[in-house]
């Protein structure tokens, strides 16, 4: 597919203007429903506006706006189920999500999105959705249909996915209580399928950046075609922000540094038009995005000189360094082959941020180059998964690990003492007394006015967990993965009930 399929800029500008107006209405309607000062028509309009904004953002390739709006829609559905009797935290996150979308829309097309942490913001919304303070559920009598509505292009609704998550959690817990290879296999199949349901399409983001790269080429007086090859693979939302940053820098570098000016290309026996090919491929464990240009290739000798002058390599090491090693230095903090910054590619600090972002999501990035044939950058990204920050808590049962979201504070119980209300989550989950720690530790788990004392089996540490089968906020447990090992995520307030 060619990037020439990209929408005209006038249409994109119209989308921005219409969406900003839509956001004004959404903000006003949200205030109305939370203050019980609105009509059913206005409430319907609220959901219609959010849904339309999400769909239009997808159409014009604003993947970041579509992602936040999808979360906003989930927050609204959850709020509606509670008749908008929402905790102030929820009100704050909804308001900030609206502002976040507004900020994304205000950003000039193709301009640097540096400084914006889309992934971090999505995590905050996910925390609120995961940890929504437990309240009495009320029938969905206001709008109807939220529980069964298809959420995303024919995908299952959040509610249905969460019900599958509950089933998967039960299968996993049963496989621990009564070890069985078949149960374990059933759990693995269920969790894998559920993870795939939370993925989002990569192609709209790629199309948008391809269009921006072409615009940039025109600004620089270069003739560049940007082609896209591959199927519309889906990636986890948590990796989208890193891909976004990577594509900004890699495509800009290709246009600014890689593809030569038309006359120079002609003098080198090339066509006047340069080509950048973005190839997307899905493998069982990874999604691979390759950006290949047919420009001049990296100036290896210049990189060698700069490596020495910047103090990254001693002269004798630099003299013997392989091309691969030198190319890897492009990702070093502050590395650039240019003496001065340019408006387009800056001083080169971006590639360091690109690698850092990609590694943060457990991906890799590498660069290859051939003189006069161009540069190829290969991004290898993990398949879809959802990350959440947790306290990793060893349980009192050997081999079982708990995770508690970091929205909760976990601190040692004074004098490691148990109290009358001490809870051992192992008991609450229905495990028998075998394989227990003889002398458990005790920790206080608190959030706002909620406080519990838990019996645990060892020191608590901070970690990142992958949510493989999300369950609803009123469920006390769901299964996550910490360092590729399953753990039971606990929601203390729901567990206690």
């Amino acid at each position: 597919m060619s990037a020439s399929d990209a929408l005209p800029q006038s249409l994109v500008a119209q989308f921005r203007a219409t969406s900003l107006e839509r956001l004004e209405r959404i903000e006003s309607a949200w205030a109305g429903v939370t203050q019980r000062m609105t009509s059913k028509e206005a409430e319907s309009e609220l959901f219609h506006d959010v849904h339309t904004l999400k769909g239009e953002a997808r159409l014009v390739g604003f993947a970041d706006v579509a992602l936040i709006t999808q979360r906003l829609e989930e927050l609204l559905f959850a709020a509606r189920r509670r008749r908008y009797r929402v905790h102030e935290d929820v009100d704050v996150v909804v308001t900030m999500a609206i502002q976040f979308v507004r900020m994304l829309l205000r950003k000039r097309a193709g301009s640097s999105q540096g400084g914006i942490d889309l992934n971090g913001f999505l995590k905050h919304i996910d925390e609120v959705l995961t940890e929504w303070p437990r309240q009495s559920e009320v029938p969905d009598s206001l709008g109807g249909g939220a529980a069964t509505r298809a959420g995303d292009g024919g995908k299952l609704s959040v509610n249905v996915r969460q019900r599958f998550g509950v089933a998967a959690t039960e299968v996993f817990l049963e496989s621990l209580a009564s070890p069985s290879p078949r149960l374990r296999r059933a759990w693995e199949i269920l969790s894998h399928e559920l993870a795939q349901l939370d993925a989002v399409a990569l192609m709209p983001l790629v199309r948008r950046h391809a269009a921006s790269a072409k615009d940039l080429a025109v600004e620089l007086g270069k003739e560049v075609d940007v082609a896209i090859d591959g199927n519309d693979v889906r990636v986890g939302i948590e990796v989208l922000d890193s891909i976004h940053t990577a594509l900004v820098h890699v495509l800009r570098n290709a246009v600014d540094h890689g593809i030569e000016a038309p006359d120079l290309r002609a003098s080198r026996g090339k066509s006047r038009r340069g080509t950048i090919l973005v190839r997307i491929k899905s493998e069982p464990e990874s999604v691979i995005v390759t950006v290949q240009d047919d420009g001049a290739g990296a100036d290896i000798e210049r990189i060698r000189e700069r490596a020495v002058s910047l103090g990254l390599l001693p002269p004798d090491t630099a003299a013997e360094a392989s091309d691969a090693k030198l190319l890897d230095l492009v990702f070093a903090p502050g590395f650039t082959v240019r003496e001065a910054a340019t408006d387009v590619s800056g001083r080169g600090i971006g590639m360091d941020a690109v690698r850092s972002g990609i590694e943060k999501i457990r991906g890799t990035i590498e660069m290859k180059s051939k003189p006069n044939a161009g540069v190829t950058v290969v991004l290898r990204l993990p398949q879809a998964c959802k990350m959440i920050d947790v306290h990793r808590v060893p349980s009192t049962r050997k081999g079982l690990v708990f995770a508690i979201p970091t929205t909760w504070t976990v601190r040692p119980s004074p004098d490691n003492g148990a109290t009358k209300g001490t809870i051992d989550p192992v008991d609450v989950l229905g495990f028998d007394a075998s394989n227990r720690t003889a002398k458990p530790d005790h920790v206080v788990v608190s959030r706002d006015r909620d406080e519990y004392v838990f019996a645990v089996g060892g020191p608590v540490t901070r970690s990142a967990a992958v949510r493989t089968c999300p369950t609803p906020p009123d469920r006390g447990a769901e299964i996550v993965e910490i360092d590729d090992e399953p753990a039971v995520l606990l929601r203390p307030d729901a567990l206690n009930g």
Partner: protein, 136 residues
């Protein structure tokens, strides 16, 4: 004593909120205590607007905002901080200054709300916590 040309930044002592600016020695700080709800919104917007003006006049590298004694900031008032941040983002990079929030980690709402605010501009917002929990 007010410096020549300095923008006057009045304190807020209304409803459940107290907010005090500290200006001097090239530093600009705001300290919030109590709860900020819609009744205090106009006062907060006015204060932040003046702080922004004064920060530009003083050419400070950062403004410190101390939330440690703050019990809650509602969504409308938090939006005022987002608007302030957007004003800083709209400046040229050599005129921008950072916002350093001092937070109390025993108040989870601060971690959540300020953490979300930081996502708007990780290069312009810094959060310092007073205490750390187990495992941090």
């Amino acid at each position: 004593m007010t410096q020549t040309g300095a923008v006057e930044i009045p304190s807020i002592h209304s409803n459940d909120l107290r907010a005090e600016p500290t200006v001097g020695d090239g530093r600009l700080e705001l300290r919030f205590a109590g709860s900020a709800d819609s009744r205090s919104l106009a006062a907060i917007e006015s204060m932040l607007s003046r702080v922004h003006e004064e920060a530009l006049r003083m050419k400070v590298a950062e403004v410190a905002v101390d939330f440690r004694d703050c019990d809650f900031v509602n969504s409308s008032c938090f939006k005022a901080f987002v608007v302030w941040l957007e004003q800083i983002q709209d400046l040229s990079s050599d005129s921008q200054y950072r916002l350093r929030f001092l937070s109390d980690e025993t108040k989870p709402w601060q971690r959540r709300s300020l953490g979300a605010l930081m996502c708007f501009a990780v290069d312009l917002v810094q959060i310092e916590s007073k205490s750390a929990s187990v495992g941090k």
